[in-house]
Amino acid sequence: MHATITPSATRPARVLRWRVVDIVVASVVAVAAGVVFWVWGQVQNPISGPVSAVLPGFQGLLNGPWLFAGVLTALIVRKPGAALYGELVAAIVYALIGTQWGFATLLSGVVQGLGAEIVFAIFLYANWKLVPAILAGAGAGLAESILDLLYWYPGAKPEFAAVYAITTTVSGALVAGLLSWLLVRALARTGALSRFAAGREATGRV
């Protein structure tokens, strides 16, 4: 998995192997995301009932926060497998805190992570700007909606399924994609990401 591209005069070398700092910071970010999942889980439970009662299928809009772990991790660490790792570790943390979804949480994590991972792979792990971020969020959303419709709402009507899939995907694109991208930029400005390309791009040569 080691690939170095000989640098041109201005572009830094792109290394695809994970460094130790990549692994640890990815874990920290994913773990923090797992805690955020727990908080969001507490909030979403009471809300999604009324929402789904009034506007069936629109509770998909509340699904965005479940998807940001993978995209955020990938945008920071910029290595293959980062999106999958981020979502999976966040899901494991969420499961360890003792939640209701059990093993399905891990399954969710894998599927959501893959949804984002595939998008970044399509961009050859070279483009980490706004557009791939939004698309990755959308990809994670789409993947989750498929899993949810199979597990949570297996007997749902086609209209419900369509609305749910679309709202989840949009929520993913906005919350998981756009917000993650903005968050990474804000983090970079604090200098916390100085060991990552994401951090150095934001601050330039200081």
Partner: protein, 503 residues
């Protein structure tokens, strides 16, 4: 992989330099020096001279092409550091960031596992390392329950289990209380005596390591070596440079504080009980409130604070200095007894600080935390200083005036537009004091203001406090630093002993 007793390693640096990716300036440039096996070296120099970079380079943890570029040669035990993992052990400054696993034994065994040491050998090494640092806890003791000094010793044990030939210590005692400093120093001394390993230690406090080292090297700010030789010679010859660089020379005298006549009473406490309760996050103005939940420490405290006075809260770790400081600052609830803000302090806000709105707290009591990063709320230094006045609703001209004055006074003008997180330790500390001063509170509460500070920042802090006292402010500080207490002329209240002692 090291089998058998550690072999002391030699260090050869030949014209070595390192530049971090994303920086324009070289962290270290053209450094040449040579350290023989078994030598014990104290590395000094101003901040920015690259001392930490040199240690990290010797330990082989600077990274590869991704992290920066290198020039020149660096060798530990005749091999490049990256290939000599396990030969050099690096101890860092922050005790919390070096605890890797949840149980003491596992944490120490971690290094052995990484080096491929066979299982039968690991646990004997773990026990030996634990004894070598004098840490008397069972192997399954949770690491989260260790004190700062214990955590540093644990990290040292983890390194010793590797049987390193070179021990690298990067400001290991900066964040510790005096007892912890002694513990770590003694542990290092006994480890060195047992193994004869080479030592390179970076530290501001020369007195701690002076008797242990036999050579002092001073790095110049622009690269290269400024002085190199026996401790007595170097410390005498380069003393002015060292003082300017913020190094604590061993025989520094601490100036006496000017006495200040006390003014109006500000805050009184009678039989105050304090402890870790729920944080006072919202104001409460209920006349009859429920007794707040929280476990009170057994000690009861009575004190009087007047304008121009200074009080130092001292005592061993865990005695509750920080907790009392936070309670006096109106941030933690009173769990018994009374805490009363007098007219001069409270104005029209009522006598109980914990019931004040946070905006009211701004102009009355300013609190400065032990870790300045907890208090950063803005993305530019300028906005950070303006946050308090802005919350008060002052007009922009007034805010700008106050901000400029503080930037000037705290020597932060050069970083006025930088992100506060990117500042150096000393700058962050000055900034957090500045943010508390921006709203001109009558009482200032400081939690460990001199932790990890070099001599220059320390002196600056003493000066600032003297100015504040002369202007009628009152100071409360929770601190381990006895010299600081003497320098600001504070009355001491020792927790754990329960008596008020005149300075």
């Amino acid at each position: 992989m090291t089998q058998g007793p550690p072999v002391p390693a030699a260090v050869r640096v030949g014209g070595w330099g390192w530049r971090y990716s994303g920086r324009a300036a070289w962290a270290v440039r053209d450094l040449t020096l040579s350290i023989e096996p078994g030598e014990r070296v104290l590395l000094l120099g101003a901040s920015g001279a690259g001392k930490s970079t040199v240690l990290a380079g010797l330990a082989g943890v600077l990274g590869g092409d991704d992290d920066g570029e290198t020039e020149g040669a660096l060798a530990v035990a005749e091999r490049p550091p990256a290939e000599a993992r396990g030969t050099a052990g690096l101890l860092l400054q922050d005790p919390d960031a070096q605890v890797i696993l949840a149980r003491v034994g596992d944490d120490i065994a971690f290094a052995c596992e990484n080096l491929g040491v066979p299982r039968e050998e690991i646990w004997p090494r773990v026990r030996a390392a634990l004894d070598a640092v004098g840490l008397d806890v069972p192997l399954d003791h949770p690491t989260a329950q260790l004190s700062g000094g214990q955590k540093q010793r644990l990290a040292l044990a983890g390194l010793l289990a590797m049987r390193p030939g070179l021990l690298l210590l990067d400001e290991p005692t900066a964040n510790l209380d005096p007892a912890g400093v002694r513990e770590v120093r003694d542990a290092v001394a006994s480890a060195l005596d047992a193994s004869g390993a080479t030592l390179v230690v970076v530290e501001h406090r020369v007195a701690v390591w002076r008797d242990l080292v036999d050579r002092v090297i001073v790095l110049a700010a622009d690269g290269g070596v400024l002085a190199d030789g026996h401790p007595d010679t170097v410390l005498a010859d380069a003393s002015s440079t060292l003082r300017a660089a913020g190094v604590w020379l061993p025989d520094e005298t601490v100036p006496e504080a000017e006495p200040v006549a006390p003014g109006a009473a500000l805050l009184t406490a009678r039989e105050l009980a304090f402890g870790r309760g729920p944080a006072v996050a919202r104001r409460r103005r209920r006349a009859s409130r429920r007794t707040p939940s929280g476990v009170a420490l057994p000690e009861r405290v009575s004190l009087d604070l007047a304008e121009g006075s200074a009080l130092a809260l001292t005592g061993r770790n865990g005695a509750g200095k920080s907790t009392l400081a936070l309670t006096l600052g109106g941030l933690l609830p009173v769990l018994g007894g009374t805490l009363r803000a007098e007219q001069a302090l409270a104005g029209d806000a009522g006598p109980s600080p914990e019931s004040w709105r946070s905006r009211e707290l701004l102009t009355r009591i300013g609190s400065v935390f032990q870790n300045p990063e907890h208090q950063l709320v803005a993305s530019r230094v300028r906005d950070e200083l303006a946050a308090g006045p802005r919350a008060l609703g002052l007009d922009e001209a007034e805010i700008a005036g106050r901000v400029d004055e503080l930037l000037e006074r705290l020597a932060l003008s050069s970083v006025a537009d930088a992100n506060p997180f990117t500042l150096s330790g000393g700058q962050k500390r000055r900034l957090s004091v500045g943010t508390a001063l921006a709203t001109r509170p009558r009482l200032l509460v400081l939690d460990e203001p001199t932790f990890g500070q070099d001599a220059n920042t320390w002196r600056g802090m003493v000066r600032t406090i003297a100015e504040l006292r002369a202007a009628g402010h009152a100071i409360v500080t929770a601190t381990h630093d006895a010299e600081f207490v003497a320098a600001i002329g504070a009355v001491t209240l020792e927790l754990g002993a329960g008596r008020e002692v005149a300075a």
